[in-house]
């Protein structure tokens, strides 16, 4: 079996019909089976578009081009829509920042979970329901039978995000793509969701591609971290290399810009002096 679950070579995402530089340019990286890889970047770095591109979920007006875009040995560019749908629907799980916008507010949790898995795996209603209950248990939701009868708004933000993860897990994906899954959550709930992703990775061996603006968070959970700036990868390094000291000045600056609980209070924070990496300027004209 191939060791690599996701291979991306020279991925470029362009805005059609405009002269702007492509928001994602020449991105290369791979994710191995069972690996947890992080993508970190500030706004406009292209981290979210990269993840949407991989899942072939780019919004209209954006086009994707790559030398290679392979998931589990399957070509994601040449394949038919039908093939893509089957492959991505079952093998790749997406978790977004705002679970409320991915869940249908007017339908009960159970109905949505069962529908998704029946669509992709052709299970009977009762088998799908059983699987839904088991998946909710997997993400540590208590009284799962009761939850199936609740609407999304009846759950807290952390619980909704766990339902989203449970939905993704029902199809036993080999890759979970999570784009800022905890940004809208409180730190204590964030800790629980991170714990959960790590446990799942441990138990089922699903690889995780975790996208975040928080480099400290990624350094806690990832094997490897990809640093993006303005549509390009500036550094792709192991977490131990990151902790030992990254090579790229932008990565270094990013690490120093975030105060942590040990930052010296008597000194000003180091900011990114290099104007090439200045996000505050130039102003949008």
């Amino acid at each position: 079996m191939n060791d690599v679950i996701l291979r991306v070579e020279d991925l470029t995402i362009s805005t059609s019909g405009r002269d702007d530089p492509p928001p994602v340019r020449g991105v290369d990286f791979t994710v191995r089976r069972g690996e947890i890889v992080g993508i970190v970047g500030e706004s406009g770095s292209g981290k979210t578009l990269t993840s949407l591109g991989i899942a072939r979920l780019l919004p209209h007006g954006l086009s994707l081009d790559a030398t290679t875009l392979e998931f589990d040995g399957h070509d994601l560019i040449g394949g038919s829509d039908r093939e893509l749908r089957r492959l991505l629907g079952t093998q790749m799980a997406m978790v977004f920042q705002d679970p409320m916008s991915s869940l249908n507010p007017a339908r009960k949790i159970g109905k949505q979970m069962v529908e998704a898995v029946r669509e992709h795996r052709g299970l009977s209603k009762s088998a799908a329901r059983e699987l839904a209950v088991r998946s909710l248990e997997d993400v540590y939701i208590t009284e799962p039978e009761k939850r199936l009868w609740q609407y999304p708004h009846e759950l807290s933000g952390g619980m909704r995000q766990r339902v989203m993860i449970a939905m993704g897990l029902m199809s036993e994906p080999s890759l979970i793509v999570a784009d800022e899954p905890t940004t809208a959550l409180d730190v204590t709930v964030q800790a629980q969701v991170m714990q959960l992703l790590c446990d799942l990775n441990d138990r089922s061996g699903s690889a995780v591609l975790l996208i975040s603006h928080n480099i400290s968070l990624l350094s806690e959970v990832c094997d490897r971290i990809i640093v993006m700036f303005r549509g390009r990868i500036v550094e792709d390094l192991t977490t131990s290399k990151l902790l030992a000291g990254p090579d790229h000045p932008y990565t270094q600056a990013l690490m120093r810009a975030v105060p942590d609980l040990a930052t010296d209070r008597t000194k000003a924070l180091e900011t990114i002096a290099d104007t090439e990496f200045d996000l505050e300027e130039p102003a949008r004209a």
Binding site: S43, H153, Q195, S219, E220, A253, V258, E270
Partner: protein
């Protein structure tokens, strides 16, 4: 000095919701005080109650010894001059059709009584924008042409226009990129140093609060659960909740969640923590359209 004594704030129902219960909080002159807590803990309600934007149900608010509880008329106008609130979303508190320089001149004008465009307003507005690090070129631009960090600098400049001695900063860096956040935090440090100004810094980000504040209050479910000098609270937190909160903050290479079995520093998933979060967020944890203090617009 800002003093909140036994403050209760209940939002009218139905059903009525008590967002803040019996809170005592003091910001001594010239100090920066942090207020941390998770969504719905009542942080923003305190910010608003302190300057009369949200009525206090019981208790008293005093500023420099003067009673400013539920201020009206003259008291309110004076309070607007001495205490200013800066919000998370600077775009929402600026007039999209007004040039940056004008927006700041307007605030200067309200504070000084001089006309917009007068020599005083022009000079003072330029001074303030220079002070907060807004580039000269940005002064003749409109809000949508500036970056989030620049807009937040403009908001701070406007708050300083009244020569306020008390700044309440409510999640002012929450929507900024980390590199821009670092610069705004440095600006706030400079203001602490150069101006005789007190700050109440409200945030859910404990690392930022620890970096910026002398004294700290931790809130949960509308109550203060712990209070003390920042060094002491961060160094040896007494309350269980403060410890939980601190343990959850991601740190460089903390590696807690990957190796859970070896050292479980994060409490295991429990329904407890979830139940703590109200199913429907209380009114004040939802981003409300940002009201602008009357005196500043």
């Amino acid at each position: 000095m800002l003093e909140l004594k036994a403050i209760d704030v209940t939002y009218p129902g139905p059903p009525p919701f008590t967002a803040v219960r019996h809170v005592d909080l003091t910001v001594a002159s010239g100090t920066t005080v942090g207020l941390v807590g998770e969504s719905g803990s009542g942080k923003s309600t305190i910010a608003r109650a302190a300057i009369g934007l949200t009525p206090v149900t019981s208790g008293t608010v005093t500023l420099d010894g003067k009673d400013v509880t539920n201020p009206r008329g003259r008291t309110l106008r004076e309070l607007r001059r001495t205490a200013q609130l800066v919000f998370q979303d600077p775009y929402a508190s600026l007039n999209p059709r007004m040039e940056i320089a004008m927006a700041v001149q307007e605030a200067v004008s309200v504070a000084s009584g001089e006309r917009i465009g007068s020599a005083h307003c022009v000079r003072r507005a330029t001074e303030l924008l220079d002070r907060t690090g807004v580039p000269r070129a940005a002064m003749i631009r409109y809000p949508h042409q500036l970056s989030g960090g620049q807009l937040q600098r403009v908001s701070i400049a406007r708050a300083l226009a009244t020569e306020a001695t008390m700044l309440i900063l409510d999640e002012v860096t929450a929507s900024l990129d980390v590199s821009v956040q670092a610069r705004i935090l440095n600006l706030l440090r400079e203001l602490q140093r150069d101006l005789d100004i007190s700050m109440l810094y409200i945030s859910h980000d404990l690392s930022v609060v620890r970096y910026l504040t002398d004294h700290l209050y931790v809130m949960r479910h509308g109550e203060i659960v712990e209070e003390g000098s920042s060094d002491v609270v961060f160094g040896s937190p007494q309350h269980e909740y403060t410890r939980t909160l601190l343990a959850a903050v991601p740190t460089m290479g903390g590696n807690r969640w990957r190796s859970r079995r070896e050292h479980a520093s994060v409490p295991p998933l429990s329904e407890e923590a979830e139940r703590a979060a109200p199913v429907t967020p209380p009114a004040d944890s939802v981003e409300a359209p940002t009201p602008v203090p009357r005196g500043t617009r």
